[in-house]
Amino acid sequence: MTDRRREEVLIRIEHAGGLATGVSNDVHAETGVPEADVYGVATFYSLLKHPSEIRVCQGLSCHLAGSGEKIDAMSATDTPFLAAACLGRCDEAPASWDPQGENPLPEVHLTAASDELAINLAGVDSLSYEGLAAAQDNGADWVIGELEESGVTGRGGAGFPAHIKWRGVANQPVTERYVVLNADEGEPGTFKDREVILKRPHLVVEGLAIAAQALGANDIYCYVRGEFGAVRDTLEAAMEDATTAGALDTATTWHFVDGHGAYICGEETALLESLEGRRGMPRMKPPFPVEAGFRGAPTLIQNVETIATIPSILTRGGAWFRDLGRTEPGTKLYCVSGHVQRPGVYEAPMGISMAELIDMAGGVVGTLKAFSPGGASSGFLPASMINVALDFGSLQKVGSMLGSAGVVVLNDTVDMAEAALVQAVFFEDESCGQCAPCRIGTQLVRQAIERFRRGDSDALEHIAEIAPGMEQGSICGLGQAASLPLLSAMKYFPNEFESSVHT
């Protein structure tokens, strides 16, 4: 039994207006959590440490769109701001975000509505909840069987088969169980979960209700990225509408929890730590969350997109979903940003080629040079690989990954060392700092690129030793992937790393 008072620590700091002298002591008095511990938690999260400064995104897509100039301009006028890691607004690059403002999102380009899409962002969100009704009628075994038949895999980035997680929780002897929605979308180039919740919140609510029903969970926790304020409200409103309409089992308790500005909390065990009121440092696995997750109890954690596929899988059948895919099951939401005509979220058969996806997004602005197929963690691939199938298996074979399918397109004006630096800065900023390979390695990588760009031709000589050490030694995926942008840029664009003379 974990200390539940600790779970209130983050929200109490937020309500106190963020970290300031004395806040740790107040929260300690309110919760019994040691004062130093409260301070350690508060300083981990950007939105608690710096609750009011305007954020200017320095993610890759925003960098390509001129965030550097934006930052220079704000510095010149002494406007207070923080250069932030990706804000999840890559479609409106260069993005900024005001923690105290409304931050309206522009309409994003989407795939046209179609019945042959599992999520169908442009479709009509309805309160039918037929999938939930089917789940209630047919029972957990049938639900998990359909998931297995569908072949749906985790859309947050890991690509792990969903049915294994569901069955893993279902088979636990413990009856206290939790369903957690991972809506802490933060991978640079990724803004699909945001759109799923904004456009099809009922798919998410229904998917979660199905999971709770099938797995016997009484509590559903929705952990929504802190910078996504209105997105969380949309989801909560949908849950309330569904409850009012009598579509939901009233025995289930819904909890909506804000993230507080830490990319690493998208890692499922870091998310659990954060839910429990701790610093978002990933846990050691095993045990896996299906066995010992939130409060040490069996927990299903699923990404927004994955959850949103569940209703249509149940209403139209696992086989239908499977057949939607080209190389792997289902359709997939691809976020396209960077040098394309129409940045947006495009739902396409799993395994669509990069060339086709670029066409969907209206073509390249300029001449294609490289692309990053799955967020910062996937590194870069050259234009010559434009026919690669965008699925988990095919990209893994070429040393990259589909990840969250945050596809960033780079044209021939881009300096690859600079692009690698942007990603290196991101990983260094977002490392939790727990394990040495990631904490120190991300600093070494970033500094090496900076030195190289300043004219030190030998600056990258140690990377061949440092990168594999980080990959082998880091606790979680962040550190394991953090040197991939540089390594892949060096591999595919060797001439840009031969001499550090930049013209």
């Binding site: 511990d37 440490k49 700092g433 727990q434 440092i466 050490g469």
Partner: protein
């Protein structure tokens, strides 16, 4: 004993449920280096130097944290394992003081001790970490040197798990991760009890004794003399760190965990209350007061005779129960026994007390 076995470096050993790879390896006298591990504290596998190969596992596993399983095949000596150890040491050295003389200016530095054994992958550029210290901390005893910190969190975990004090914490994140108090307060303004355990567990001397640092002689040049702490009756063992050349006790350190009754722990008195030893006002010989009221040095014989004379005079004039004996909490059990014996048998009164008894 369990029927099931596992294999480490080709040697079979019985499987004990719940045991870590590190613990099983120790039973075979196989040494696995660690930086962030202490047997008294829950493992976090943060330093990653203890990674070993486990058959069937794509990534190497942290031996401090991974539990053994029946039929596990573990390799702790291989090119891959060795490369990771060297990587790990080079990595940490890039983030801390890389000049050995400076790195060992006060406390021992485990990074260099391990580098002597395992080698490094070379000296990499220094990362110039933005980690913050706590320059406004005015406590007199414990100094945090952020340039030597390797973020292993042994100090914060010791403070939390062993002492139950939680005066210090990991603060901030990533490259900025540092050791802090709440609001960066001085330790003396926190729950800190100044036990100095953070210094004892720190592998790099990032947590260090202020007075010993000012004294300026590295611990490795001091001679350790084991003694029993006499501040209370527990019997904690402590090592006086003595500068023989100057005949001075420079600081006190606890013997390693698992070797003495105090298991590597000390309290504020045992660790820091030693400046009386070389204090100019300390009594170093018996003194008696003459009729003129002035103290003069004398022999023990004369001094004790005076004590006997005085106490017996009180008994003669007012009876034995007019006397009361109070012994110090610094006395050992044996000394306390003798003391009450003296009170009861020699003077005939039960008026005897020991100051730590209430």
């Amino acid at each position: 004993m369990s029927e099931q076995t596992l294999t480490i470096n080709g040697v079979s050993i019985d499987h004990r449920p719940g045991e870590t790879i590190l613990e099983a390896a120790r039973r075979l006298d196989i040494d696995i280096p660690t930086l962030c591990h202490d047997d008294r504290i829950e493992p976090v596998a943060a330093c990653r130097i203890c990674l070993v190969e486990v058959e069937g596992s794509r990534l190497m596993q942290p031996s401090c944290h991974s539990k053994t399983q029946p039929d596990m095949v573990i390799t702790t000596e291989s090119q891959r394992v060795s490369r990771n150890r060297q990587f790990s040491l080079s990595l940490h050295m890039a983030d801390t003081v890389s000049d050995r003389t400076i790195a060992e200016d006060a406390n021992p530095n485990r990074l260099f001790e391990l580098a002597d054994i395992h080698g490094t992958a070379g000296l990499w550029p220094h990362v110039d970490s933005p980690r913050q210290g706590r320059p406004m901390d005015v406590n007199r005893f414990i100094h945090f040197r952020e340039d030597r910190c390797i973020g292993c969190a042994l100090c914060t975990r010791y403070c939390d798990e062993i002492e139950g004090v939680t005066a210090i914490t990991l603060a901030h994140r990533g490259a900025l991760t540092t050791i802090s108090t709440a609001d960066e307060l001085s330790l003396t303004d926190t729950t800190c009890e100044l036990c100095g355990g953070c210094i004892a567990v720190c592998p790099t001397g990032a947590m260090t004794e202020k007075a010993a640092l000012a004294y300026g002689k590295p611990e490795k040049e001091l001679e350790k003399i084991r003694t029993t702490c006499n501040f209370c009756g527990v019997g904690c063992q402590l090592d006086l760190n003595v500068d023989r050349d100057a005949n001075r006790i420079v600081k006190v350190t606890p013997p390693p965990p698992g070797t003495t009754v105090n298991d590597g722990n000390l309290c504020v008195k045992g660790r820091f209350a030693n400046d009386f030893i070389h204090h100019k006002d300390r009594l170093t010989e018996p003194l008696v007061r003459d009729a003129d009221g002035v103290l003069r040095p004398t022999s023990w014989d004369e001094a004790l005779d005076r004590v006997v004379e005085g106490l017996q005079g009180v008994v003669t004039r007012h009876g034995p129960h007019s006397l009361g004996f109070v012994s110090s909490s610094r006395c050992t059990g044996e000394e306390n026994y003798l003391f009450q014996k003296m009170s009861r048998a020699a003077f005939g009164t039960h008026n005897v007390h020991q100051c730590a008894a209430t």
